[in-house]
Amino acid sequence: MGKKKKRYIEDIKVRKSNKKITGSRWGTALIFIFLCVTGVFMIFPIYYAVVQSFKPIEELFVFPPKLYVLHPTGKNYSDMIKVATSLWVPLSRYIFNSVFVSIVVTVTNVFVCCCAAFVLSKCKFPGNAFFNKLIVTALLFTSSATWIIQFLVMATMGIIDTYWALILPSIATPMGLFLMRQSMSTIHDSMIEAAKVDGAGLFRICWQVVVPNQKPAIMTLIIFAFQDAWNKQSGTIIYSEELKTLPTIMQQIAATGIARQGVTFATSVILMLPPLIVFLIAQSNVMETMANSGIKD
């Protein structure tokens, strides 16, 4: 008894308390202050937009501008809805389009990327090396680099001005596949070997053994895919009013002369919210997964 056991108990305490093992307390305090200062710069425009969106008109144009609201009002938001409902197509249709497209893109993107990433990282077959190289190179050619020419392809396929034009190009993202592949390649082969001995097929190994261990990566993929789909400007590929998505129409509202500064801020807040919420949800899941994996080891 005595020393050895005491140390063991202390060790357990340290592990449980989530404390950093290395690094001084003062260092942590300094880092905290630095992060706070830079963080203020990052969050300020977003904070300002939220504050401005709740300001009544007489407060919006006070000089110098205030960083807080004295008499918060929802008038900017109700004005925005007024502008939106006076449109030819009801606002609910744009919301439906955005939500529908974003969810379909996110789900298919994660599914397709997981399947391909598993094969590329864990299976040996002719062409594997080529595909892996191709994906790494393709990372460079994000949609912002190829979209000018992408239009030509979509026009040839005849999918311009349909839901397909919004969904199909966003599914196979090299970034998603690459991220998933990098994450999956850290898994031990012994786990897969064990599943194989148990007689599981490739698809089952992927979805029952590998993917459940990839929660952080999957969450990250969901964030990217959703964000991409939600923010996608459909103006150039969609002409029909009833197929347009929220960002396009919101920006049209903000750009019209009818809508003034307050409404513009309200619009941008509405646009910012869904990706931020999705990120917050996914982020907490990543943390949870982390805590679990810490105990297991």
């Binding site: 977003i46 002719p126 393709a138 190829t146 920006q251 931020l276 990120f279």
Partner: protein
Amino acid sequence: MAVKTAVKDAPLNKQSKSKYTWHMMKINKACYAMLAPFMILFTIFTVIPVIITLPLAFTNFNMAQFPEFTGLSNFYTLFLNDDTFMLAVQNTLVFAVFTGPFSYVLSFILAWLINEMHPVLKTFFTFVFYAPSMTTSAYVIWQLLLSGDSKGYINAILISLGILNSPQQWLTDTKYILIVCIIVQLWISMGAGFLSLRAGFQNIDKSMYEAGAIEGIKNRWQELFLITIPSMGPQLLFAAVLQISASFTVGVVSQNLVGLPSTDYAAHTVMNHATDYGWIRYEMGYASAICLILFVVMLLVNKLINWILRRYVD
């Protein structure tokens, strides 16, 4: 390594190499089936648009008539007669330095510092730093913050602090346009790469640090250079590649912020130039030539970065 251990039933030596490959392909057809959905969509929407720029760059194509072959004339015009293109190249390079290496190092440092925090603060700070890149409508906010009259927030603050006497035209004065665009670009640059680095820090096995502490690692610096960086190779490369792509295709932000074209082309980038010709003037051949040059430069820089970071990636 291989999930399908096909070695034992492979007809070694006796048959030619191509037959062996074919045999392996047949055995592993499940692999191709799982790869197919991604690869088909990827080929249609990424590979074809990239490859098609090569032939189109040598044509005159207005999207209405069949492309007409014009040889190298697009490139002659670009390099010898198009002053705006040269200006765009110059601007893109300035952008690339700031949104490339600078923002790469910055996102790594921030990800590392955030990782040193308590779990609750980690969540909070990750959110704070990542939030800007999620907001495409962000440019509207900046437009109003930087608005040229004294109602613009930045102007109002600087005037009331006595730093400025009269409001500055941040978005149209050629003195400021480029620097303003760079700041906004930096603001939204803590994106996917930053998040990937954060995830990388998090994925590192905690027992590695415990082992390190026992082995005599004394401070954060040693921990960073001896344990963290060597085990983050994949994430470092990923972030680097994304950064290259982002910094060379920069243009959308400036286009939204200061208009296309910006005053005196002060923030005109190569991507803006391609958009100008491709979308506004419908000269797809010329736009393809611009894209082709951009792609080639991106590939070359990518090769360089790969070569630098290779030792961290197995």
